[in-house]
């Protein structure tokens, strides 16, 4: 590994001081002169025809400046299939449907006005179970698609299918086959800072959106389309306030943002809409529930022969990026472990439930739960230790997977071995002779994730502009965003390293589409890799310009010069070393040919966008990992305690080990919540637990100290060897825990969360099997 000055160091997050002193401005803290407060009237029915809307009483509330509905505003269509509208006309399809909105001088007036809006409905049949929604007689959630073409059923027309090898031949060659059904429900991001925006028009009709989006460039395009729908020709600028948590929730644009735009345009004043916590729970889009069916087989030695996965996803009433998560689920489905013959297909179904979105992991936690639990079942059939099963099938560097992913560096095997060692697997697995009500067991599960971007959009690129002043201060304008993960710090480290300046010299500017270049967004664990490579390349261009000029000054070939410690260093003759600032000023104030150093680079990874057969290589590199956990199950209460948790990740190279640990620790805790406690409870489309009292995210009391193991494989494509690490940490938590529960008490739980009542019921069913075999696994 090459020697570095700041890359690889535990540099504290650069906005830390601002955040600990309360100076950071989030959307909640931002006020603009003349600003109004917007509030949304949501549907009172889950599926109905809107007969009439009476806003007359709302309009009389003092302070109210506008009340809008779909009947007095232009239609703005949005979403992945453009099947959603900012305000709903004639028909509601879910409880979170926006029927009307108010702008008023105070939040109280806006709330009062919303309470006074009267809507008359005519109920329509609804459907909540995706399997039922697929039945021919099921009520249709949408009569037509966005273009008015009639839809004959609730199945989304999305081609999520991939097949490679010969699954039938693979099955015939199998000595053992395991088959299972796994079910995961809704969970939500729970960003501590709720969603919100401020829309503001200037007198020329140009829109500024103060936002907390994870996708400034794509959001800008969406808002431009909205202006077009409104018959406006203005420009759009997206300015980000600090983001109080993302996790995928801000990866799309939403009705409340378009409503703010409509209200701002109607009133001629800036309009702010910020969600309260209840809205954040019911009116944002959660992770999609999935029912997964897995069959996989192996030969007598435990080598995988085939894997077949089919799944049904509850899309909810409209379509966001959530419906595209199967394109990422395909990755572990076809390529986690070496499996020669694979088939994957996913069906997304409209229901009258809330519509779903991206959430950290983008589908891979759901499918990995199914694959990794099922793999343990297969290992048991073979009579193999699950550890040995995984080692026999681990991915290797240099392989091309059946779907066409080019595995370059791969620390999969090392991750498994590290987990086994640190968990003392050999001694702890299958402990015989446990007595008493508390039983311990260990389990593990692996993950594969994109580590070098993911081309799920037509461009997976990111631009960076760098300029250097007369004193060696460097401004870096990146298209990417910091959402708390530390991109601001990582970019500083990369640029400081390349230009040989102190990190305090580097200023990173993100989150303003008027000044920052294009970027596809903060998702797919791509920012360190893609934005990092973009910044690295721009910094190298600036470095080369400086060295070229310094070479002329020093009459030395640039190849023997370098930038280090704020100096231009001559490797062959240190007496020639010059302070960087001197070189910069000499260039700027030269008698002729004055120059200042600046460069721009747009980095587009050399990867494939998968369409048609869904084969190719959509990431420059892949991230690998293995989690191992020791649990203690209380057989009297069903409570599962995490005793020890080891998370081993192939990260390429840790640019900042402290921030990296924060990503892993935070993700694992989210993964443990997914496994054990988090659950959005919907009844007939209505969310019953829209608060932190009843939706249980883990607290400091529950916090498990994760033992992170960083496996560095130094990926040649990554900036300084790095791969992405934002999402991988929560992908294998749930199956690792489920597998450990099985080791402890011998019951398999195929439905998340693994809450005490489910564990207890499974234990009781095993003691006295009464119902049909396996029923215990499918009941709530």
């Amino acid at each position: 590994m090459s020697a570095t000055a700041v890359v690889g160091k535990a540099v504290p997050k650069v906005d830390g001081a601002e955040k600990v002193t309360g100076r950071t401005v989030y959307i909640h803290d931002l006020k603009i002169p003349g600003m109004l407060y917007g509030k949304i009237k949501y549907s009172d029915r889950v599926s109905a025809r809107i007969v009439s809307i009476d806003t007359s009483e709302a309009e009389k509330v003092p302070g109210v400046k506008a009340v809008i509905t779909a009947y007095n505003t232009p239609e703005i269509r949005f979403g992945f299939l453009k099947d959603n509208t900012a305000l709903k006309k004639d028909r509601v399809r879910q409880y979170r449907d926006e029927i009307a909105a108010v702008a008023a001088t105070t939040p109280e007036a806006a709330e009062e006005a919303v309470r006074k809006i009267r809507v008359e409905y005519e109920d329509l049949p609804a459907v909540f179970d995706p399997d039922e929604a697929l039945a021919p007689e099921a009520p249709r959630v949408h009569e037509t698609d966005a273009r008015g073409k009639p839809l004959k059923d609730n199945r989304l027309r999305l081609p999520w299918r991939v097949e490679a090898g010969d699954v039938k031949a693979g099955e015939e060659a199998s000595a053992f086959v395991a088959e299972g059904e796994y079910e995961v429900g809704w969970v939500t991001h729970c960003c501590l800072g709720t969603s919100g925006c401020i829309a503001s028009f200037d007198p020329h009709g140009n829109l500024t959106m103060y936002s907390n989006t994870q996708i400034p460039s794509l959001a800008r395009t969406d808002y431009m389309e909205a202006l077009k729908a409104m018959g406006l020709r203005g420009r759009v600028r997206v300015v980000n306030a600090a983001i109080g948590g993302g996790f995928g929730s801000k990866l799309d644009t939403y009705a409340h943002e378009y409503i703010a735009i409509l209200l701002a345009h109607r009133t001629g004043r800036p309009v702010k809409i910020v969600f309260d916590r209840e809205e954040e729970f019911f009116a944002t889009s959660p992770r999609q529930p999935v029912k997964v069916r897995v069959r996989q087989g192996c030969d007598a030695q435990g080598r995988l022969t085939f894997r077949e996965i089919s799944m049904v996803l509850d899309n909810g009433a409209y379509t966001s990026w959530g419906a595209t998560t199967p394109t990422v689920m395909m990755m572990p489905a076809t390529s986690l472990y070496r499996v020669p013959n694979v088939r994957f297909e996913a069906t997304c179904v409209y229901t009258n439930n809330t519509y779903c979105q991206a959430m950290r992991g983008y589908g891979t936690p759901q499918v990995t739960f199914a694959i990794e639990c099922n793999l343990d079942e297969l290992a048991e059939k073979v009579g193999l230790d699950p550890l040995e099963m995984r080692l026999r099938n681990a991915n290797e560097p240099g392989e091309v997977t059946p779907q066409g992913f080019k595995v370059t560096t791969c620390g999969h095997r090392e991750c498994i071995e590290e987990v086994a060692k640190r968990l003392d697997w050999k001694n702890k697995r299958g402990r015989a002779g446990q007595t008493g009500s508390k039983r311990r067991g260990v389990g593990m599960a692996c993950l594969m994730h994109v580590g070098g971007g993911a081309k799920i959009y037509r461009s997976d690129g990111c631009g960076t502009l760098i300029k250097v002043d007369d004193f060696g201060n460097v401004d870096v304008f990146s298209g990417s965003m910091d959402i708390g993960q530390g991109l601001d710090t990582v970019l500083r480290q990369i640029v400081a390293e390349t230009l040989g300046v102190g990190i305090e010299r580097v200023n990173v500017i993100v989150g303003d589409t008027d000044v920052c270049p294009w970027d596809v967004g903060v998702h797919a664990s791509r920012s360190t890799f893609i934005a990092g490579n973009s910044a690295l390349n721009a910094a190298r261009m600036v470095r080369d310009q400086i060295l070229e000029f310094a070479g002329q000054m020093l009459e030395a070939p640039p190849e023997i010069l370098a930038l280090e410690n704020g100096q231009v260093v001559c490797r062959e003759d240190p007496s020639k070393n010059l302070p960087l600032a001197k070189v910069l000023r000499r260039a700027h104030f030269a008698k002729t040919g004055n120059t200042m150093f600046m460069a721009a680079h747009f980095y587009e990874p050399d990867t494939d966008m998968l369409e048609g057969e869904f084969k190719g290589n959509y990431s420059c590199t892949y991230a690998w990992g293995c989690h191992g956990v020791e649990v203690e199950v209380d057989t009297e209460t069903g409570h599962v305690e995490i005793v020890k948790y080891v998370a081993a990740h192939d990260v390429g190279r840790a640019i900042n080990p402290m921030l990296l640990r924060g990503q892993v620790q935070g993700a694992v805790m989210m993964g443990i919540g997914y496994a054990l406690s988090e659950e959005m409870i919907f009844e007939q489309g209505r969310l019953r637990n829209p608060n932190f009292r009843d939706y249980k995210i883990l607290t400091a009391k529950d916090a498990v100290k994760v033992e992170p193991v960083i496996v560095e494989t130094e990926d040649p494509a990554g900036p300084f060897g790095a791969k992405g690490i934002g999402e991988p940490g929560l992908v294998p938590s749930a199956p690792a825990i489920a597998n450990a529960i099985y080791d402890a008490v011998g019951v398999r739980l195929n439905r998340l969360p693994l809450k005490p009542e489910r564990v207890l019921r499974a234990l009781k069913e095993r003691e006295a099997p009464s119902g049909p075999c396996g029923a215990l696994q499918r009941e709530g």
Binding site: A10, P12, K13, D15, G16, A17, E18, K19, V20, T21, G22, R23, T24, V25, Y26, H28, D29, H189, C190, C191, L192, G193, T194, A242, I243, G244, G245, G246, F247, D276, R277, I483, G484, Q485, G486, M658, L659, R661, G662, Q665, G666, A667, V668, M669, M670, N691, F692, R693, I697, L698, T699, A700, K701, A703, V704, K705, V706
Partner: protein
């Protein structure tokens, strides 16, 4: 609407605010005094993002009636750093230990930690976890926050 005048100290300075009877302390701090360090994460006392100190005790400002603050000493996150802006040891530890990510929970976390360390200078890990149990964080997984409080406790006790 009827207003009641309350007088109290905020970060050592006198403040006089005419409040409506139903206002909570968070509204007074954020809207009337422009101290936006305290955040509203839930408005229901469940997340702790609005934690401030009232007479040294950590409270959820979103549930604390503004009129109850009359005569009290209130400390917000803006009042922790020294006169020259140097960070309080708890703040510094949060930065240096990687305890800050998105930062929305941070002001509340820092103040809950302060209330604890003022009462128990060298708390056990269990005491720290209990003191912070009312402050939710979705980013960090808490481990680095707990370590930051431990580091700050050691520094403050030296």
């Amino acid at each position: 609407m009827e207003r009641i005048t309350i007088r109290f100290k905020v970060n050592g300075e006198d403040a006089t605010v005419a409040v409506a009877p139903h206002w909570n302390l968070l509204r007074v701090l954020r809207e009337e005094l422009e101290l936006t360090g305290a955040k509203e994460g839930c408005g229901a006392g469940e997340c702790g993002a609005c934690t401030v100190l009232v007479n040294g005790r950590a409270v959820n400002a979103c549930l604390y009636p503004a009129v109850e603050a009359d005569g009290a000493e209130v400390t917000t996150v803006e009042g922790l750093a020294g006169p020259g802006g140097e960070l309080h040891p708890i703040q510094r530890a949060f930065v240096e230990k990687g305890a800050v990510q998105c930062g929305f929970c941070t002001p509340g976390m820092v103040l809950s930690a302060k209330a604890l360390l003022d009462r128990v200078p060298l708390p056990s890990e269990e005491e720290i976890r209990t003191a912070l149990a009312g402050n939710l964080c979705r980013c960090t997984g808490y481990a680095q926050i707990i370590e930051a409080v431990q580091a700050a406790a050691e520094e403050l006790s030296r």
